[in-house]
Amino acid sequence: MSKAMQAIMTAVLLALLGGCAAPQPWVKPYEREHFADPIMSMSRNPVSDVYLEHVFETREGARGATGLVGGGCGCN
């Protein structure tokens, strides 16, 4: 293995190991009060949002990835 290749492998290995370090949360838990406000919910009323999405989906060719599934506010 050439020195150049060794250097590249070492760099890649170090990069991968560096990636293992968990990043520190830059928005502290006590700074997330805005996300606890109901108006910041991605879907404040799921039943209503889903119904309206249902109206659109039935008229359109596109489907999926509406963003209504999942999500998270990290506000716990």
Partner: protein
């Protein structure tokens, strides 16, 4: 319900535009949407009445969703949805007669929390006289990086049984010569990311695959037949038996300094039927005393499917042929407003933590680029009719209770 002697020109599910599969997908969202990784959803009940009127179709009905925790790590949901349809749409008028129908759907689900992970399961059953759909859904949400990031992976599988109604001696029944099946699979990946104290982003990707009978057994194509009738002849649609779609979206929600929220989103969609679509949405939320007001606009545009045509040149022009409006090229605009009023805490119901009364109204306009009003062929000639425009009003009234 009134049918033509043969069959209706539009599948009842597609009158609302909706296939049972689409409805099922919606139900999946009902089950999984409230999940925030690391935190089980709040105990909550919603009772909603929906009303849609547009294009000579009225669809209304109730929807109920109840969620309740059992212990510290399990949350159960149960829901019911109903559509009562009165349809005399342009599709129905073309070759059949107006009808009334009821569709019903039940769903149950469970969310189980283990540490910062939530496992969700759900089952949905929907039925109407000529369509039965069963769906199972599974998802997993994981909080990470100090709860700034939430990753959700989902999978669902659906099995549909498709029938066709006919009228025999004045009685509507399933056509004994017609029975089809369709299977559906969906894979989704979502990520939400807190970026700043006031900004949260969401990324979503979803792959959907369908296999089986994907056409509408009632709707027809038309092909040119100069000198015959109004210049066109109706024939059965022929769809491919498979479809795969990919959709990706990004959302941003920003908290404004005066306690308001601004939401923007974009979605790109593509599938193996050559439909490409873009969806843009903008919404503003403003609380005021006991009220929360919402206003929003949504713009959508799509290209037509490769086998779609409003008027084929002649019979058997190509192997696949469709004239469903949902596969045409069009753009649409929806403008919506809403208001929610939070009731004061009531002493006679101490178990109620919060309760709200909500109303929402939307106006939807769909401008088709290559779907013409075939009912006017006698005036303008086949292929020269005015392009069809759909205007619809949508209302929702619902009560939500947290307990």
């Amino acid at each position: 319900m009134q049918l033509s002697g043969a069959a209706r020109s539009a599948h009842p599910s597609a009158i609302f535009g909706l296939t049972p599969f689409a409805r099922t997908l919606c139900a999946l969202i009902v089950i999984t949407a409230p999940v925030i990784a690391g935190v089980l959803p709040e105990d909550r009940a919603d009772v909603l009445w929906h009303y849609y009127n547009g294009g000579d179709i009225t669809v209304e009905g109730p929807e109920v969703l109840v969620r309740k925790k059992v212990g510290d790590s399990l949350s159960l949901t149960a829901g019911y949805y109903e559509d009562m349809i009165s349809s005399a749409s342009i599709d129905v008028k073309l070759s059949a007669s107006p009808y009334h129908e009821v569709r019903k759907q039940e769903n149950v689900g469970a969310d189980f929390q283990h540490g910062k992970t939530i496992y969700s399961f759900g089952y949905i059953h929907s039925r109407e006289p000529d369509y039965i759909a069963n769906t199972t859904v599974y998802s997993l949400s994981q909080d990470m990086f100090g709860d700034l990031t939430t990753v959700t992976m989902g999978y669902h599988r659906a099995w549909d049984q498709i029938y066709r109604d006919i009228k025999v001696n004045g009685i509507i029944q399933n056509d004994p010569t017609f029975y089809e099946r369709a299977d559906h699979r969906g894979y989704s990946l979502s990520l939400s990311q807190i970026v700043t104290r006031s900004l949260i982003l969401g990324f979503n990707w979803e792959l959907l695959t369908d296999q089986g009978y994907l056409a509408n057994p009632y709707r027809k194509i038309r092909y040119a037949s100069p000198g015959v009738g109004e210049g066109f002849t109706l024939a059965d649609q022929v769809y491919p038996n498979t479809r795969t779609s990919n959709a990706g979206s990004v959302q941003a929600k920003y908290y404004l300094p005066w306690r308001a929220a601004l939401t923007g989103s974009y979605r790109y969609y593509t599938d193996t039927w050559a439909i490409r679509a873009h969806t843009y949405q903008l919404q503003y939320t403003q609380p005021w005393k006991q009220w929360i007001f919402d206003g929003g606009i949504r713009y959508y545009e799509q290209t037509h499917a490769s086998f779609y045509s409003d008027l084929f040149p002649y019979a058997d022009y190509q192997n696949f042929m469709a004239r469903d409006r949902e596969l045409a090229a069009f753009h649409s605009i929806d403008v919506g407003v809403g208001a929610a009023y939070e009731f004061p805490h009531v002493s006679w119901a101490p178990w109620v933590n919060r309760s709200t009364f909500n109303v929402k109204a939307d106006h939807l306009t769909v401008d088709y680029s290559d779907f013409r009003n075939a009912l006017l062929a006698g005036i303008y000639g086949a292929g020269n009719e005015p392009l069809y425009v759909l205007n619809a009003n949508i209302f929702q009234v619902f009560v939500s209770i947290w307990y």
